[in-house]
Amino acid sequence: MSVLVFTENWDGKFKKMSFELVSYASKIAEMLNIQTVALSIGDVQENELKKLGNYAADKIISVNHDKLQNLDNQAYTSVIAEIAEKEGAKVVIIAQNNMGKALAPRLSVKLKAGLGAGVSKLPSSVEPFTIFKKVYSGKAYSNLVIKSDIKILTLAQNSFEFEENDKSPAIENFEPALGDDLFKTSVSNVQKQTGKILLNDADVVVSGGRGMKSGDQWAPIEELAELLGAATACSRPVSDEGWRPHDEHTGQTGKIIAPNLYIAAGISGAIQHLAGISSSKCIVAINTDKDAPIFEAADYGIVGDVAKVLPDFIQAVKEIK
């Protein structure tokens, strides 16, 4: 029996998220007194795979297959399910990101396993299996019991501190049974931005709202982001106005993020915006209105005009770098 954790790779490399996942899975395996098995799909070199052992994987299964170069939800689900059955998985852990959200629900049906989506802590009990998750877009939480024999959890990004734990797991190369009837999608026109810090990965995010006055006033946001190694984001009115692209929109109906530091410049903090950022570890708010709801969610606040405060902020950061 095992806890199976699916670790995605990015051009053959793992990210912090992968290690959070393996670490989280190993803690659940400890609670259940069973093994942790990590699964990687794609072309990942042995020395990279071995890194998963540093976060307490007991065994690593690598699937590298020509047909799996693009994400086909049905085919990937079939591979993960095949390995879950082979390894007697009691719990399957996946990231709560684009790929995880695409696969976990399918896997839930395939394995008849109840899904706990977007967990950020360990289960409070394994008998009954009880997890704690956000509901109503973070306005509340629920304690949820998963009643099925197998459980699937998706782990929210940047929510679990990983621990180093040296193990030297065996690596098994596995050839999945992939029928042709599984592949019903074709992928084309892949567009990737390079050299840009991705909003979902960023440790620091600098975000602008209507208080920035117009789309051509964004230079201070970009400069501060550059200095802090941060991604840029915006509130909904900003993307609705076309000042910034919609993929920067952060909030309930846009991106939901949880960076270590979120800087909100000229954002009033509507309830829908807060739903997208409230899991951030530290929130800084700059706004002219002292009664703006953003200050209720913030850790540090400045009542002032972004046009004055941001240049000072940039200067002060330059001084410490």
């Binding site: 086909d72 109503y136 939480y141 846009g254 530091l261 800084v284």
Partner: protein, 249 residues
């Protein structure tokens, strides 16, 4: 081509969450119910596609699993422009239960393109669409930010880390969609509201399905400590606190 849109009936996004019965049930007092925002965008996009004759869309159906209290939301979807509506008469127990109910309906009433919003504003599971596709053994494309029909084929642009790619699936397909597929949700016109009353809203009996999860109770988030205010002339102090107290830069 026939389109189905899975709708959730959810509290308006500005609603404050409150609970009753020892925090085991959502307090619906005074709550306004709306079409789940992503489902509303899916409906909007479906109507945009239908308005182009070349896309040859014959029919747009909306479906939900819910009690009679979900009907005003279904009527709203009909007023916006859906051709007919289906309500599977059961309390939605969990995403698995909901997806199983809708899958049963689709098995005897096939569709070519099935839309599902990327998540519901209440349980935030991002689950029903993918589950539905697996029950039906058909492809699903997730995180779709644009859906087009070209020469009878559906092309879905989906978000991947740091970019996008186009996916052309075999039909039928479940398209799990997010912001971007339509700009603004379409609003019902007076004529639409009048017509909606005459459009069919079929009530279907549920099948027996066991839910796999159960909510024990709800909790409110821990209150945050008060925000530390810094004078606007003293941004240096803020940077100092971020570096030495919060240790985030």
């Amino acid at each position: 081509m026939k389109i189905l849109i899975c709708l959730s009936n959810v509290p308006d996004t500005t609603t404050k969450a409150k609970f009753v019965n020892d925090n085991t049930a959502f307090d619906t007092t005074g709550v306004q119910w709306i079409i789940n925002p992503w489902d509303e965008l899916a409906l909007t996009r479906a109507l945009e596609l239908k308005s182009d004759a070349a896309s040859s869309i014959e029919n747009i159906t909306v479906i939900t699993v819910g009690g009679q209290d979900a009907e005003p939301t279904m009527r709203k979807a009909l007023a916006i422009g859906a051709d007919d509506a289906v309500r599977i008469d059961a309390e939605p127990k969990d995403a698995y239960f909901v997806a199983a109910q809708i899958a049963e309906y689709i098995k005897s009433n096939p569709f070519d393109l099935i839309f599902s919003g990327i998540e519901s504003a209440d349980y935030n599971g991002s689950a029903a669409g993918g589950m539905l596709a697996e029950f039906l053994n058909i492809p699903s494309v997730s995180a779709g930010s644009s859906v087009n029909i070209e020469n009878g084929q559906i092309k879905i642009t989906r978000d991947i880390d740091g970019g996008t790619e186009d996916v052309t699936p075999e039909l039928p397909v479940v398209a799990i969609v997010q912001k971007g597929i339509a700009k603004e949700p379409m609003i019902a016109a007076m004529r639409g509201i009048m017509m909606a009353r005459k459009k069919p809203l079929n009530v279907v009996a549920p099948v027996e399905v066991e839910a796999l999860t159960e909510i024990v109770n709800f909790e409110m988030p821990q209150p945050k400590p008060a925000c530390k205010m810094i004078e606007p002339e003293n941004v240096k102090e803020l940077v100092n606190l971020l570096q030495n107290e919060a240790k985030v830069i």
